[in-house]
């Protein structure tokens, strides 16, 4: 059981690291990577759960991890596509800087972004 605790603590540390990255960095690529770190933390914990009994493995957490990986991959791909499009349209992949530059670019929407 102590081994599971170890994995659990590692997962918690990774999750916190990812959460910090998601909140602290403005660059979108870093945010997307941080989300992936968070996802891997959960998967690490789930994989560890599959092997609590040394005699046999529990397949259910493995199935969950596989499903989770598929979802994370597609979400990441989609997020990257959005980030690329933002870069093409605004010229920055930065959530804070882009709002200032974005206003300069399309003057019709200046009022809206100012108010939101």
């Amino acid at each position: 059981m102590s081994q599971l605790t170890l994995y659990g603590l590692a997962a918690a540390a990774l999750f916190a690291l990812g959460l910090y990255g998601l909140l602290a960095y403005a660059h979108l690529l870093r945010k997307i990577l941080a989300v992936n770190v968070m996802g891997n933390a959960v998967f690490l914990f789930l994989v560890a759960l599959g092997r609590t009994d040394p005699q046999q493995t529990n397949p259910v957490p493995h199935a969950m991890v596989l499903t989770g990986i598929v979802i994370t991959v597609s979400a990441t791909a989609f997020a990257l596509a959005l980030a690329r499009r933002l870069h093409r349209e605004v010229g920055a992949v930065d959530l804070d800087a882009q709002s200032r530059r974005g206003e300069a670019l399309d003057s019709t929407q200046t009022e809206e972004s100012g108010k939101s």
């Binding site: 599971l4 659990g8 997962a11 999750f15 959460l19 998601l22 979108l28 945010k31 989300v35 968070m38 996802g39 933390a41 959960v42 914990f45 789930l46 759960l49 259910v60 957490p61 969950m64 499903t67 989770g68 979802i71 597609s74 979400a75 989609f78 997020a79 959005l82 980030a83 499009r85 933002l86 349209e89 605004v90 959530l95 882009q98 709002s99 974005g102 670019l105 399309d106 929407q109 009022e111 809206e112 972004s113 108010k115 939101s116």
Partner: protein, 472 residues
């Protein structure tokens, strides 16, 4: 029970193959199966109590079960009522843009599938999967309107949604570690209420709060919902955020037994959301932003269920959910019409719109009745039940929230109405709208009022399987 999930899922890829004219039969098929399935399920649940269906014949501990009871039928009914008018509206609204249509429909039907699947599933991991189906269909729909504003809103929405779902998944992993099952009924039996359960539930709740845009985690909602195309805004505000609330209620009362203090905390968040959202709505200059902040406020009422925790409160919050869903969908469609005709949605420059779009403005007026909670709307009944519950539970302070929120809603909505009835002889040339654009907002708003007259069967439906002994 599988029908409402499978039909839109099958239709989604078909949309890519068919030309625009061929889509109409598909819309009607999915709408009709949705409605018929809900009616059949409501009948069955009323006669026989909650239904379980083992998908693929595997059964609960290993397989994934579907569950239909009074609670899950409410969002299912809301979806079945709101999505068909939105679909017909979208069909004409996206008329000109062939390319947009091609991308729109598969995502739209995936969204529909996700909405139905996430309320019918009885497995907490499958909830994660269906929530991701919802998110990954909803975010691209936001981007479709094309502007930089929409793109920014979508990215923020996606990041928040991913944060929410991973937090939720961590909670699921903890609960699985503690109890070795993912089935909701199984969890409810084995629920211990110890510290591990509490942490798992807290993570799940925080994840769902982020998905449902509840007060401190709401900041993604206004930009995303106001920048999306009109039918998408309507679906997101009326339906998608409600799924998170439904899941909160399901896990809170059906699976776990949290302490009363936690319920008070959620109620406090809801109350803050009501006031904060309403005040923000008063400050906005654009119609769609007003409506979006109004959603933040109206979602707050739903959270009053958690401190009140009684049969009357459950009925109240679910009726409020239905009332808000219908009214909000109608308002966003009306805003779409205004943008379609005027080319902007600045409330200041609305002079003459009332004469230009009489049916649309009628819909706005009727929705305002629902949102402020005046009789005979179904939202009024919902608020009435919540008031009743606050008195029963001797928690009078929620009354302040319910009444104050209604007054503030009246303030920001009547401001919109007033601006439109200023007569301006210089209003632009009238060009006729397609029939669906004219009538769908009015149909939704009228439904919100009429449902109030027929809500007794809905209340009776909540009885079977309800965790509250003293049901209303």
């Amino acid at each position: 029970m599988v029908g409402p999930i499978v039909t839109p899922l099958l239709v989604a890829p078909l949309c890519l193959l068919l030309p625009r004219r061929g889509l109409y039969p598909l819309h009607l098929t999915v709408s009709l199966t949705g409605l018929l399935a809900v009616v059949a399920l409501m009948r069955a649940v009323a006669l026989e109590g909650p239904l379980r269906y083992a998908m693929g014949g595997w059964g609960a501990p290993l397989g994934i079960d579907l569950l239909a009871d009074g609670l899950s039928l409410m969002p299912l009914l809301l979806t079945a009522l709101v999505m068909p008018p939105l679909t017909l509206y979208a069909h004409d609204y996206l008329d000109e843009d062939g390319d947009k249509q091609l991308n729109f429909w598969p995502l739209w039907y995936l969204l529909w599938c996700g909405l139905n699947a996430s309320v019918l599933t009885a497995d907490i991991f499958n909830v994660y999967v269906t929530l991701e189906v919802l998110t990954l269909a909803a975010v691209p729909l936001v981007v479709l309107s094309g502007g930089v504003e929409a793109l920014r809103g979508a990215i923020r929405y996606l990041l928040f949604a991913l944060l929410g779902s991973l937090t939720y998944l961590l909670g699921v992993a903890l609960l699985f570690a503690a109890h070795g099952t993912l089935d909701m009924a199984g969890l409810a039996v084995r629920w211990a209420g110890d510290r591990l359960d509490a942490v798992g539930l807290a993570l799940i709740v925080v994840g769902l709060l982020a998905k449902g845009a509840i007060f401190p985690l709401h900041i993604w909602l206004p930009p995303a919902h106001s920048a999306a195309p009109a039918p998408v805004s309507a679906a997101l505000s009326a339906l998608v955020v409600k799924v998170a609330f439904y899941l909160l209620a399901r896990l809170w009362f059906w699976v776990a037994e949290p302490a009363a203090g936690a319920g008070l905390l959620l109620g406090g968040l809801g109350a803050t959301a009501v006031f904060y959202g309403s005040l923000q709505a008063l400050r906005q200059g654009r119609l769609k932003l007003i409506i979006a902040y109004s959603t933040v406020a109206q979602l707050g009422y739903l959270l009053l269920l958690f401190p009140l925790a009684s049969g009357a409160a459950l009925t109240g919050s679910l009726l409020q959910m239905i009332g808000h869903g219908l009214a909000k969908a109608s308002l966003f469609l009306a805003a779409g019409n205004v943008i379609h005709v005027l080319g902007h949605d600045r409330v200041r420059d609305f002079a003459g719109v009332g004469r230009l779009l009489p049916t649309t403005w009628m819909a706005v007026g009727l929705s305002a009745i629902s949102l402020t909670g005046l009789p005979p709307s179904v939202a009024f009944l919902g608020k009435w039940r919540l008031l009743e519950a606050s008195f029963q539970q001797a928690q009078w302070w929620w009354v302040v929230v319910l009444v104050g929120g209604g007054l503030l809603a009246a303030a920001y909505l009547f401001r919109v109405l007033a601006c439109a009835f200023v007569d301006d002889p210089a209003y632009p040339e009238v060009h006729r709208l397609p029939w669906s654009l004219t009538w769908m907002p009015l149909a939704l708003a009228a439904l919100g009022l009429l449902m109030g007259l027929f809500s007794a069967p809905l209340e009776a439906l909540l009885l079977p399987g309800s965790p509250f002994a003293e049901a209303p």
